[in-house]
Amino acid sequence: MSLVGESSAWKIAFSEEQAQLLEVAAAFCREKSPIEKVRALMTEEKGFDKSLWDEIASLGWLGVAAPESYGGSGLSLAEAIVLAEPMGRRLFASPFFTTTLAAQMLIRAGTETQKKRWLPKICEGTIATLALHEPHGDWDLTNITARAEEREGGLRLVGEKRFVLDAAAAEMILVSVLHKDAPACVIVEKAALPKAALSRETVIDETKRSYRLKLDGITADCQSLLSAEKMTDALHHVHLAAILLLSAEMCGGLSGALDLTVEYLNTRRQFDRFIGSYQALKHPTVDMLTGWDMARSHLYYAASLFGKMAAADDAEAAVRMAKASASDAFAFGSDRCIQFHGGMGFTYECDAQLYRRRALWGEYMHGDSAWHRARLADILLK
């Protein structure tokens, strides 16, 4: 029997830098993203506050996981996690997730020229995104039907991409395609997008900005292809990085839903008692808490293993566990958050729905918990 993880001794590594970043990010998001602001941004087309984005960039948050030689701070994705968790807690709207992931893709598979051109800009605040998903809705990022065909010395893209986040604000989009029948990735700059290429999608989480991208009519030169031989590895890496970031965002979101629930249970009275004194409400709220604790422990363990090549199987298992754990716990917590608000919970005005929507968003991006458990079974139950 092979049980992955026995070797890693169940230790969570957490650095002084991470501790400081976590503290700063928690304070920043609490202050800059109160719920009124979240709601106001939801109704705006752009969906995020550009001045806050610039602040984030000047704090160096967009380059924490980028090498110093490209303008980053040379830390790792584990540092991005401590930023993503408080952002999730305050439903902070920004293209942080997509830009961080795009940088990961470039770091992993970009040519030297591409890295030099784009990474320093991204670290300074240029928004970048990825177009990895397709109409078939498959979570397997290697299931690609969009194509890049060679034509007149350049590339002509064919097909359609879905759930391209923050695309309208992005200076560049990394588009996964088949090129010569193999997975590839093309850098498409904003200027190369035909007028109607992007159309906004209506998605369940209204704090998110998501777009359909029609590839037909887009051309690019051959230098815009990322390194072909690194593509399979890079797609796998980006997938795992995405679920790690989503896990952080969901752990934070669950914490926010828990705060909201506890506050209501401590102020709402029925039958002359605070409703939090009823065990029918108190006990599931404790289940929310223990679910949050578990998910968070999985998260920080996964973060400390992430990117360690020596423990590739362990790290993959840990990251998938973090995602499955966080999405189940957040699903339960945000569901009970609505229920425990009673009639109020059924209204648009009540913030509980914001967390439920965020939970569903996180659950269905990059694989739900059952899908990850099936992958885990292949790793753990060989």
Binding site: M1, K11, F14, L258, S297, H298
Partner: protein, 401 residues
């Protein structure tokens, strides 16, 4: 005390070698999996001998003071032994109430005389300890204890009853919570805490048959049983504080335990192994997609609980909602074991309906017994429901139920 890393590594090698050579062989009968399940004399003697052997090898109470029979070493040495015992699923330390609750309490707040009188024999299992907390009418409501201790001269006279008293039938001493004053404003006042000898006149022990059909618990009756006044622990009337301290040791919220394991936990790995041997539709159960999904869920939970322990040690990651990680250990572990037990039975198909004693029962029926016994932890030491009240009120700040 600074600990040398190399010294620890050397020590770990030594410990592994000792357990390789000295781990007990299969005794030929089903051993209990926790101290709450010791039902027969042969089980008890086997376990007591095993604890003595571990102590005499120097692997128990390693961090307790040398003056009282301990090893006088830094805690990491004992931690290495504990991990090794757990990893090998070795039989647990039968005198765990002494090792983990009464002993640390005596070392923490006992008199010099008490330390000299009790500590060494706790470690060697010469004196077995039991705990007199629960009463027939007051299970989870510990502070409502009604057993009377009336002071008469240099003695207290005990009248009343304690229940669910594990090991009482073999115990020499009991840590006892009794009421010395019933005219108080709150139930928390008027309680006193004693280190009571079990051979006093007027004490009767009635074994309780458990849901498994076995024995292991007792009800203890006190009828005008005299207790010397110097058995008092702490001040008269301040027993609640001592009881709370004891619970902190019991629940692992405070360190200082002698070490050793208190139970043999069922690991998911064992259930995975079971799933490889039992069949579904002619194929190993482990090939079934639904069973695989369930197994992964359990593996995730098992890992999550260990990672909770790891995270609790990292201050910046445990400062939000403080206490949550430590206070939920018992709740999570015990409920997990109960569900895992039920799942292990479900893997066996129709054969799950066999029971201990039938030659066809898988692993001598340990899974069936394990499922029933799992309730001892979800009920004992404060039921899961009470735990949820406590966590909800203390960690989340919810109003009292």
């Amino acid at each position: 005390m600074a600990v040398d890393k190399e010294e620890l590594q050397e020590f770990q090698k030594e410990v592994k070698a000792w357990f390789d050579a000295n781990a007990p062989k299969d005794p030929g009968f089903l051993l209990p999996q926790s101290f709450m399940e010791v039902g027969t004399d042969k089980q008890f003697h086997f376990l007591r001998d095993w604890q003595r052997e571990v102590y005499e090898a120097g692997y128990l109470g390693m961090a307790w003071p040398e003056d009282y029979g301990g090893g006088g070493k830094p805690q990491p040495f004992q931690d290495i032994v504990n991990r090794e015992m757990a990893k090998r699923s070795l039989p647990f330390m039968v005198n765990i109430i002494g090792l983990s609750w009464a002993g640390p309490l005596i070392l923490n707040m006992g008199t010099e005389a008490q330390k000299r009188a009790y500590i060494k024999n706790i470690l060697s299992a010469e004196d077995i300890w039991c705990q007199g907390f629960s009463e027939p009418d007051h299970g989870s409501d510990l502070a409502n204890a009604q057993l009377r201790a009336k002071k008469t001269g240099d003695h207290y006279l005990l009248n009343g009853s304690k229940i669910w008293t594990t090991l009482a039938h073999v115990a020499k001493y009991m840590i006892l919570l009794a009421r010395t004053d019933s005219q108080t404003n709150t139930k928390y006042e008027g309680l006193s805490f004693f280190l009571a000898p079990m051979d006093a006149p007027g004490i009767e022990i009635a074994p309780i048959r458990k849901l498994t059909g076995e024995y292991g618990f007792n009800q203890v009756f006190f009828a005008d049983s005299p207790l010397p006044a110097d058995c008092l622990m702490g001040e008269e009337g301040e027993g609640w504080m001592v009881a709370v301290k004891t619970l902190q040791f019991e629940r692992g919220a405070e360190g200082g335990q002698a070490g050793g394991t208190s139970m043999v936990r069922t690991s998911v790995g064992e259930v995975v192994a079971l799933a490889r041997t039992v069949k579904r539709g002619g194929r190993p159960a482990i090939e079934d997609a639904h069973i695989r999904d369930q197994l992964v869920r359990f593996l995730m939970e098992e890992k999550g609980m260990r990672l909770n322990g790891a995270r609790a040690k990292i201050k910046p990651l445990a400062s939000e909602r403080p206490g949550s990680l430590l206070m939920s250990v018992k709740l999570l572990e015990s409920e997990f074991q109960r569900r895992l037990g039920a799942f292990a039975l479900s893997l066996q198909g129709m054969n799950a309906a066999y029971y201990m004693g039938d030659p066809e029962a898988a692993d001598r029926g340990r899974w069936q017994r394990g499922l029933f016994n799992a309730f001892s932890a979800t009920i004992g030491g404060g039921t899961s429901e009470i735990q949820k009240n406590i966590i909800g009120e203390r960690v989340l700040g919810l109003p009292k139920s």
